[in-house]
């Protein structure tokens, strides 16, 4: 087995020193708080932009992207119901009938 080059040994030494600190940081309560806050801000901004865009489209009596998303989710839920029913029907057909 060939020996590691010097630059790699240096990288490994730095990584060994830095990695535990970086891992401790992402596991800290402060990191959790900041991540949750960023996620909340992102969502609030997205909702705000979507709300304004939806009002504009509704003014000219057209559906907005959010309306279509809602419809797609509703169709998705219906699709799931049909899928589960067909699976349950398949299971019943597979079971031997009692005489």
């Amino acid at each position: 087995m060939t020996e590691k080059p010097q630059w790699r040994k240096s990288y490994d030494a730095v990584e060994r020193a830095v990695a535990p600190q970086a891992e401790a940081l992402v596991r800290s309560g402060q990191f959790a708080t900041v991540t949750a806050a960023i996620s909340g801000v992102r969502r609030a901004v997205g909702n705000g932009v979507n709300g304004v865009a939806a009002r504009v489209w509704h003014l000219v009596n057209l559906p907005a992207g959010t309306d279509l998303q809602r419809l797609r989710v509703q169709i998705g839920a219906l699709d799931r119901d049909v899928r589960r029913l067909s699976l349950q029907l398949e299971q019943r057909q597979d079971q031997p009938r009692e005489e």
Partner: protein, 360 residues
């Protein structure tokens, strides 16, 4: 050492580095141009059942010598080609060579039609339907079931909720049970610091980017180290192919159904598996009710499913015939590469063969 031999070794080293740099340049250009993408998931198979995005694959094998067949239930957040990565480095290929009749339940890529899916959809509908289809095709009363990662959780819940399931054995590979040991993203969700609803995309699912970022947060320096590893061994064609296949898979997540994500968050908050407070389809279920022969395989350097998360499983299962194998490997290394070839796969094959019939 003489001056002559010392200068010869310096010349050899310089020559080797020059050659390697030329190969690095060639492989680097190939990678940048996208011309060296390895072929993945190439073992021949047939889709024998399909419902929604889910497909049941039957791998072709003209030399089936082991009965009953083996059904693999894959995870909900990653792609199943990791089990059939490349010829010569494929879990499925090894199982086929050992004479198994192998089926794989692949969940496909969820979209808005799957946003409302619940864990019960998989545990009470899809898995029983797939088990029934495998039995019918193979003409056997029982099957061997193997769950990978989150697919292991689904397999455990299926076995615990369907105590009359026709299982010859159950194998759980790198399966998390202490959900509060899953690392920062799960901790955030477990403490209520992060609401699943804030993670959902417009289609109602958790987008793959969020899952990817969550896993990368577990080892913040790992990505940089991957590039350093690649640079160091970019001269090796074999290493580059394996690296591309493995790193490609590690970055290739799929969306997680929003409904399942919400249920999973509740399971994390309650730590429901280890605290024995699981409810499936309105019924209380307990892993201690599982009595079929059982094998759990976990890795001590797994940063996706940490050892602490998978370790309690063996003690939760009620089977008298239960075994645990802990290996010095990472999450991917458990099924791909040298540890997999030498230890994991032979161990699983041995466990299954001892509980199956061998046809001469």
């Amino acid at each position: 050492m003489t001056t002559e031999s010392s200068s010869a070794s310096v010349i050899d080293r310089v020559r080797r580095e020059v050659e390697r740099n030329a190969l690095r340049a060639r492989n680097g250009i190939r990678m940048a141009a996208g011309r060296s993408r390895p072929k993945i998931g190439t073992t021949p198979k047939d889709v024998v059942w399909q419902r929604g995005r889910a497909e049941l694959w039957h791998y072709r094998n003209d030399d089936v010598r082991v009965s009953p067949p083996l059904l693999i239930v894959f995870s909900l957040i990653s792609r199943s080609y990791i089990l059939d990565l490349q010829p010569g480095n494929s879990f499925v290929e090894r199982l086929l060579a050992a004479g198994f009749d192998v089926y794989l339940l692949d969940w496909g890529v969820p979209d808005e039609r799957d946003a409302a899916n619940q864990i019960e959809d998989y545990v009470d509908d899809y898995i029983p339907a797939a088990v029934e289809r495998v039995r019918r095709i193979a003409g056997t009363e029982q099957i061997n079931l193997l769950g990978y990662c989150f697919g292991g959780v689904l397999s455990l819940l299926y076995a615990a909720h369907h105590l009359d399931a026709p299982l010859r054995s159950l194998t759980a590979l790198t399966t998390p049970v202490d959900l509060q040991q899953l690392g920062p993203p799960a901790s955030l969700i477990g403490t209520g610091g992060l609401k699943v609803e804030t993670l959902l995309d417009a289609d109602g699912n958790v987008p793959p980017q969020i899952i990817d970022q969550g896993f990368k947060a577990l080892r913040p320096t790992a990505q940089l180290t991957q590039y350093v590893d690649l640079w160091e061994r970019l001269w090796s064609d074999d290493y580059v192919a394996a690296h591309q296949a493995m790193i490609g898979w590690a970055n290739d997540h799929i969306p997680l159904s929003g409904g399942v994500a919400k249920q999973f968050a509740k399971m994390i908050q309650d730590n429901a598996i280890v605290n024995d407070t699981l409810v499936v389809g309105g019924d209380r279920v307990s892993l201690s009710d599982i009595t079929v022969p059982f094998l759990t395989v976990l890795a001590n350097r797994d940063n996706i499913v940490p050892e602490a998360s998978a370790a309690p499983l063996i003690n939760l299962i009620g089977s008298p015939d239960k075994h645990e194998v802990r290996l010095d490997a990472g999450h991917v290394g458990l099924l791909v590469g040298r540890t997999a070839a030498k230890t994991t796969i032979p161990t699983i094959i041995e466990f299954l063969i001892q509980r199956s019939e061998i046809q001469e």
